[in-house]
């Protein structure tokens, strides 16, 4: 009995301790620095890491970002454990309806998925839509295949097995890549489709963009798809891909930007792959931040809500966008930035818009 009494006493004391510390934490957050927590996609992480740090040193708001993947970002927002989430694939109408409250999308930057390969001495490999389909579906298995040769006259293609390296983890990069493949190849659309992880007909998996990039650069004859920022930073060979106008386009900041020149819907939910612009690199896409439209939930303070939207407003402004190229992303075109700002002005706290 005594033991039990002691146990209850201990629990009571512990409980009292944690209670009082909670209260202190709450008061502090209201009066001094606000901390914003976010989690999600790894694709834009190099960019977020840089601009989040800049914002903290300039305005004092503390920001933490967890690169746990787009799915994790959506789950964290659903569970309301973050101020905003980040995702490379926009939420479908079904997914939006499943969320506990209305969610808005803010595009933050443009990225591309490049086709990287490892063939020493073979530069500027040109891959038509048909070749992409055949290589990634396992119909062409050697680099000296006549079909590849016919498309790349003058290149010394070796007699070497093609090793396709894909992502082993679920990923927004895979989503953008497979969305493009689905648009250009009915056969792919039928057999494989679009998703963050897929049932691959051939090849082997490696974890994360760094894993795929590392495997390709360590393996002669390898080909795979990776986030452009990793390919640009590590100077891996990248193939020229055919866009919808039929031009072979090298992935670059300019050609990625060109993909967003077309009409963008008001809620910015659009996949930019296979863009109609003749200068555009076809495997490009937005990455988004997602947050609740009504910020007064779960006892959030108005300060917290205001800090969230103020930061996001800065993130789509020229101040932050100007830094995108430094880490190999393409900045938002003006039209997209305007739409993002308009969406942020629709975000409310207790029904009142937070930004003017």
């Amino acid at each position: 009995m005594k033991n039990l009494a002691l146990l209850i006493l201990t629990v009571f004391i512990l409980g009292a301790c944690s209670n009082s510390s909670n209260k202190q934490g709450g008061e502090k957050a209201g009066t001094s620095k606000v901390t914003l927590t976010a989690a999600g996609a790894t694709f834009p992480m190099p960019y977020y890491n840089m601009v989040f740090k800049n914002y903290t040193s300039e305005f004092g708001t503390l920001l933490t970002y967890g690169g746990i993947g787009s799915g994790g970002g959506i789950r964290s927002l659903t569970d309301k454990v973050v101020d905003f989430g980040a995702t490379d694939a926009y939420l479908s109408d079904d997914k939006l309806a499943e969320m506990p409250a209305e969610v808005v999308h803010i595009p933050t930057v443009l990225g591309a998925v490049v086709i990287a390969y490892n063939l020493p001495g073979v530069d500027d490999l040109k891959l038509s839509n048909e070749l992409l389909e055949k290589i990634f579906m396992g119909e062409i298995t050697n680099w000296n295949d006549p079909a590849i040769k016919a498309n790349n006259e003058g290149l010394a293609l070796p007699d070497m097995e093609i090793t396709f390296v894909h992502r082993s983890d679920g990923s927004g990069t895979t989503y953008i890549f497979s969305d493009y493949m689905t648009k250009i190849s009915p056969k792919w659309a039928d057999a494989i489709g679009t998703g963050k992880s897929l049932q691959w007909p051939v090849g082997m998996g490696a974890k994360g963009n760094p894993g795929v990039a590392g495997t390709i650069s360590q393996t002669e004859g390898a080909i795979g798809y990776i986030g452009s920022e990793y390919a640009f930073a590590q100077k891996i060979q990248t193939a020229l891909v055919q866009n919808s106008a039929g031009n072979y386009i090298e992935p670059s900041i300019a050609s990625v930007s060109a993909a967003a020149k077309g009409e963008i819907p008001a809620d910015t939910r659009i996949m930019l792959t296979n863009s109609a612009d003749p200068e555009s690199y076809p495997i490009s896409g937005f990455t988004w931040i997602i947050l609740y439209k009504e910020q007064n939930y779960d006892g959030r303070s108005k300060d917290q809500a205001l800090a969230t939207v103020t930061f996001l407003d800065w993130l789509v402004s020229a101040d932050a966008q100007g830094d995108a190229e430094k880490v190999h992303y393409a900045p938002l075109p003006d039209a997209a930035a305007e739409k993002a700002k308009a969406i942020l002005r629709s975000v409310t706290f207790g029904g009142q818009p937070l930004l003017k």
Binding site: G72, D169, G195, A222
Partner: protein, 303 residues
């Protein structure tokens, strides 16, 4: 502690104080509390694994274990764990078979032939060091050193696959099997060995007719423990196994394991896929539980 010391303790001048915070009772309470925490945590884990796995098991039933179709594409979703169960069992069994002659010889070397020599001490330390190397370092070594070597030897799939993963696993589990067998072999009573020698047995006869049979249960337990470790190994395997979600088409083919697919895919998983990954976790938990139970049974039977 015997009874009289406890009594004299209580009779000390500040007996009342001691009575309230009796050290024996406190110890008992702390021990009880820690045991409850462990029970609570283990029980909670099993509960959440089962709870999380229910949607997958409900929609696929037993087919979940036998189906080799792992398709996460929306609209065509189907999850079967067979590729991963097969990959896990093949890599672990192969690793055990590869490591067996090595660790058995080393444990005889350390525990019998060269017992107490400087050479044995150095070798023993090296084996223990192997156990301390983090899994990711094994993976890196396999990726940058072992794989190019295997490519030169003509292994298909650019050196990735079940075979490469098994070799790495074998090296990783050697220290576990070795140290346990070695300890048991050292513990074989000298009288037994001396009796055999006095009957005119040679050294190898003593080892295979006296030492090994009397250390048998411990040696087997050591291998079962190391097998259990091979089942759950994640990082090094995922870097080398090829991560192809198919039932491996042979020993040199690519595949995937249960632990590896969970580590790779849970980040982006939701709904039925997340539930399927948790169900694979539950299966892995059951598998290791069964292996451990078999190990305990063998020790009990033979010891």
């Amino acid at each position: 502690m015997n009874n009289s010391t406890v009594k004299s303790f209580n009779k000390s001048p500040i007996g009342g104080f001691r009575g309230l915070f009796n050290s024996d009772k406190i110890t008992k309470g702390v021990l009880l509390l820690s045991s409850f925490v462990i029970l609570f945590v283990a029980g909670g884990m099993i509960f959440s694994l089962v709870e999380g796995a229910i949607p997958a098991l409900k929609s696929f039933g037993l087919r979940f274990i036998w189906s080799n179709n792992w398709n996460p594409t929306e609209g065509k979703e189907n999850y079967g764990a067979l590729p991963f169960i097969a990959g896990t069992i093949i890599t672990s069994v192969a690793a055990l078979l590869i490591s067996l002659p090595l660790s058995f010889s080393v444990s005889l070397f350390l525990g019998e032939y060269y017992r107490g020599t400087r050479m044995a001490k150095i070798l023993g330390t090296m084996v223990d060091l192997l156990a301390g190397i983090p899994s990711i370092v094994y993976g890196l070594w396999g990726f940058y050193v072992l794989r190019p070597l295997l490519i030169d030897l003509g292994l298909p799939n650019q050196g990735f696959g079940i075979f490469t993963a098994s070799i790495i696993l074998a090296i990783m589990i050697i220290p576990y099997a070795t140290s346990l067998s070695n300890e048991i072999i050292t513990m074989v009573p000298n009288e037994l060995k001396e009796a055999a020698y006095s009957l005119g047995a040679t050294r190898s006869e003593v080892i295979f007719n006296v030492v090994v049979p009397s250390a048998r249960s411990g040696i087997i337990a050591g291998y079962i423990l190391s097998f259990g470790r091979a089942l759950g190994e994640t990082m090094a395997v995922t870097m080398l196994v090829g991560n192809a979600n198919i039932v491996p088409d042979g020993f040199f083919g690519t595949g995937n394991t249960m632990a590896s697919v969970i580590a790779n895919q849970f980040g982006e998983a939701d709904g039925l896929k997340l539930s399927s990954l948790i169900a694979i976790g539950l299966l892995l938990f059951l598998l290791t539980g069964i292996i451990n139970a078999i190990g305990k049974f063998i020790i009990k039977r033979m010891g």
